[in-house]
Point group: C2
Chain length 630, copies 2
């Protein structure tokens, strides 16, 4: 009997007796989809797996594998899953590195989430209250607060409005009642009888393009449900800067932007509750993260000054407000809290990512990169943390790219070009007919075109000597045909223009200039980075090798890259579950040093050098140089 | 030249050269109206004054004076102002005791107010904030809070909603701004520039029948204005119990009662602001007092359980809420605070009266009596304080009295009956034609009828042997004609019925039973009371001698009675002006022991004895016995 065990993030166990099957097939039987883009020809080298046990039951290593793998890899038992075949029955244990998994995108969509000891801000206590009698005529508030003091050693005050609930709540179930305390000191709710089993919270990540809400059971820590929808502010401005502009230029702009996003959170909460059979008034707390502009707008604070030097936010500290102050439809005397911001363009979402990544407690130096229209980077370790924000623009979201699109069904997300024939292998989201190209596809395209010599290191497209994929567009500029109308099932032509290449160069240069500024501040080289945490949807989908090849990520061994998915949401949930995490966030947001890149000496010169593929100083990308020389 | 100086509460100085004038005339020249009800015949004895200087310029003491004054009084120079006449020019200095002043009512309408060191909950600080620059990119909140910490040693947090004001406020006047702190720790307001000269608060006394609001300048302590109006809840129920019933029986009752009283406070504030040329948003804090039911309703808390044994209030502790929570139109991030309650029928108003009276700091034992539909009594000294509430009913407000009316123009407020002829001397409010009788008039009437033998000690009316003032009514019960239609200018007959007498007996018995229960708890006799503080409108208007004669007040020398007027309003203003007063109120409300009279042993028996005039145990009223024997 053949046993397949995946040891990196084990997903299950399966058995197979089918000799002749490839390791690709074997992995599929335990629901692991191993990456392979070259159609199983052994050429793209993306399906590397490590055979831990049962090497003798497999076909011997072949020519394709020898070409794709380094000698070191061969030495430790790495195989290409599409090439290695089962030749005899027996136990086989394989490790499938994260990088080789096709499924990791989907798996990580909700983000990694380190375990957190439950210590939510809201806590419930069941009380059996001595009834009011003519010989004990204390007021209801004294009766309750004195009992809390004597039974639970709690010195509490009663929140505004909750006094109105007291008389009925204490008497309705024969003087048995459950109180809810916020941070152990503010009595925000009292229910008749025992309701200690019901304690719900919602974590919200307000992204510029998407709002995600998680309903969390704060007794068990379990995620009860997840709902998301596009940020309804998009019609007022695609990106953060245009929304700031809208809020600043229209007298009613801020209010409108606030209202639609609050409405969106309300809608998500209503859906979460309907699905879970709960009432929105069961929700005691909402914890919100977002970039500084989203944060300010959500709380009704003008983001105007974020767009003007010196880009000072109005609020850095974490906030806690009443739901009614925002118009949020949850338990009316509950709380809405935010994580703190760091700077004008490093917001509460970055703090959440930092917390979810664990970078702040690493002994060795690492880097967290959350790519978006603004890319936030935090580098350092437990000793010291430095952050910056890079204006990387919306190219990775498909904007300003001729055939760019979001990573929706039919978007080209993976590209491999055969270096010899320049044949192109594509994969689309949902394997649907190609309709356009998304961010990870564009990065793959630039990387592959550069690897195959179609792009110079200056990003100039030159006619291929193999095939006729490069043509002149109407303006006489070169254009690379990724898929001709004939090649796509949908009959749609998808090309990469010279302008597309430049957009990506600008975006990746912004990111690398930021990353290298932080490394310079820390006095380290790329090779000193022991870990890079790639956050967010794009960071999860983009191929790290491609990202290194074009000079976007620092040149580190790709296995040092850890995908952490929507870590902003994870961090928000962690903060919802534990006040210790919030206190940590408060400390971190004060501790993280912020670098204003515009103030950095040589910023323009550094940026210009980073426009090259991978970089004007090619020795900063030794692995890329080595690959091209190979 | 004749000089008149009044030394008790000096009101002014005047001169008179008119020999032949009485001291009554002399006092009038310096705008002091000395009480005299017998028409200047020297019989009522109410116009006692003490001649300090210039006795030799006066007529010798006459027969009427000798009859009205004790030998001791004559010895120290007391005269009847209506009898003593100026016979020679020269300096005359007279002291006019409070009891002999007719004007003291009006003077005390706003209540006495011990001086308070200004320490309001709201304080302003002018800040010159270091501007945001590319080399100082701190967030606005950090910039402000760090400056407050370094410049003013204040560790503050910013109130919900105030963050929205920050960016504009700090930048508008070149980074000069004024912050307002609540209790030195919550930043509730920020204004551009220097607004430290403007700090307003409002104190409100929500009485069952009247709502009074005082606008106070919290920089100077000065009362800027006073406004009052009838409590608009009156149509929902004349007294507290009927309003509690309305709130409890109608699903929307509490909301309605709350809305009208909040609307009333808003209207008073709007009037105060209009008169003072201020905007309601200039008002940073409102401090509210009221009886426990008024308090609960104002804060939207059901008063239902106040009407059911064991009469436990929902809330004893002082409250602080946002204006928006109540719908109060002041500065939206200001505060609305209440003083604490003591018990279901001893509310925040009683705490305010206690504070204004100063009883809590007296070395000697005293008693505070605030007469109303419920009469609150607090007895004790700095050592120990005990409170009770007596269901004295609305008779003193003219309710349930045949010709009863409020103390409005034309109400009979003073009565003196000539013991020999049974001729009646009346005085009405505003000296207007008599239309009915108000509380102080009824007490005088019962007292005088008893003194002249028209009432037995059981309160039974018997035909007068002098005059034909007692007649049978339609039911064959006796009725005393106070003023026949022919005698009143308005042609209105005003009588005292046997039923009226009983109503007053019930009311005064309730009060005395409460007072004597407290004295019993303290282990003291009436004569141990060194001071009785008479609070409220009725307490100010009622003649203390009459009140003692009918057995309502404990039998103490009348000069020990101190009128403190609307001391609830005074206490509210003191609390508005100083957080130390509020802290004191919090301590007092916990310290004052509450006695539930219904739980007292022998309550019914004590009450029955107190129904007598002055009391079944006549030796508890030695001065009354002595007077009747005289």
């Amino acid at each position: 009997m053949t046993k397949t065990v995946t040891r990196f993030q084990p997903l299950g166990r399966g058995t197979s007796t089918r000799t002749g099957a490839s390791l690709l097939d074997l992995a599929r039987e335990v629901d692991v989809s191993v990456e392979s883009i070259c159609g199983g020809t052994g050429k793209c080298g993306k399906c590397r797996v490590l055979v831990a046990t049962g090497e003798k039951h497999l076909s011997p290593i072949n020519e394709s594998e020898r070409a794709a793998l380094t000698a070191e890899e061969v030495g430790i038992g790495v195989r290409l899953a599409c090439q290695a075949r089962i030749v005899a029955e027996g136990d086989i244990v394989i490790d499938i590195p994260e990088l080789s998994r096709r499924g990791h995108h989907r798996l990580l969509a909700s983000g990694i989430e380190p375990e957190v000891e439950l210590a939510p801000a809201m806590g419930k206590i069941l009380l059996r209250i001595p009834p009011a009698t003519l010989s004990d005529i204390r007021a209801d508030d004294d009766r309750l607060l004195e009992l809390l003091h004597s039974e639970a050693a709690v010195t509490a005050n009663i929140a505004q409005g909750v006094h109105q609930l007291l008389p009925k709540a204490v008497r309705e179930k024969s003087w048995e009642a459950t109180v809810t305390l916020f941070r152990g000191e503010e009595l925000v709710r009292i229910d008749p009888g025992d309701t200690t089993g019901n304690l719900l919270g919602v974590a919200v990540d307000i992204g510029t393009t998407k709002v995600v809400a998680y309903l969390v059971n704060l007794i068990t820590g379990e995620i009860v449900g997840t709902e998301s929808q596009p940020n309804p502010q998009i019609p007022f401005g695609e990106d953060v800067m245009s929304r700031i502009s809208y809020a600043s230029r229209n007298s009613d702009g801020l209010r409108k932007l606030k209202e639609v996003v609050v409405g969106s959170v309300n809608a998500l909460i209503a859906r979460l509750c309907a699905d879970a059979g709960k009432d929105p008034t069961d929700i005691l707390e909402v914890v919100v993260v977002g970039n500084t502009a989203m944060h300010h707008i959500f709380f009704g604070i003008t983001p105007q000054h974020l767009a003007q030097a010196p880009y000072a936010p109005a609020v850095r500290n974490s906030l806690t407000v009443d739901p009614g102050h925002l118009g949020l439809d949850i338990y009316p005397f509950g709380k809405v809290s935010s994580l703190p911001n760091i700077a004008g363009f490093v917001g509460a979402d970055a703090v959440a990512v930092l917390i979810a990544s664990g970078l702040y407690q690493d002994d060795e130096i690492g880097m967290m990169i959350d790519i978006g229209t603004n890319t936030e980077i935090i580098a350092g370790s437990r000793e010291r943390l430095i952050a910056c924000s890079c204006a990387s623009g919306p190219a990775f979201e498909g904007a300003h790219i001729k055939h760019g699109m979001r990573a929706a069904s039919g978007a080209i997300e993976r590209i491999w070009i055969d270096a010899e024939t320049h044949d192109i292998h594509l994969r689309t989201v949902d394997d649907a007919p190609a309709r356009g190209i998304c961010g990870s596809g564009i990065v793959d395209a630039i990387s592959e075109m550069f690897r195959c010599g179609i792009l110079t290191d200056a990003g100039k497209m030159r006619p291929s000597d193999r095939g006729d994929r490069v043509r002149k567009d109407a303006d006489g500029r070169n254009e690379f045909i990724l898929a001709s109308a004939a090649e796509t099932e949908a009959g749609v032509e998808v090309t990469i223009t010279q302008n597309d290449v430049q957009e990506i160069q600008l975006a990746k240069a912004a990111i690398f200039t930021g990353a290298s500024a932080l490394m310079r501040k820390l006095g380290i080289a790329c090779s000193d980075l022991k870990r890079v945490y790639a956050a967010g949807a794009f960071g999860t989908y983009v191929d790290p090798t491609s990202a290194i090849t074009i000079g976007m990520y620092p040149d580190i061994p790709p296995e040092r890259i850890k995908f952490i998915g929507n870590a902003a949401g994870s961090g928000a949930r962690m903060a919802l579950k534990s006040t210790k995490v919030r206190d940590l966030a408060d400390r971190l947001s004060k501790r993280v040093e912020y670098v204003e890149l515009a103030m950095e000496k040589n910023f323009q010169a550094e940026f210009a050098k980073a426009m090259f593929l991978p970089h004007r100083d090619a020795d900063r990308f030794p692995s890329v140089v080595q690959q091209r020389q190979a």
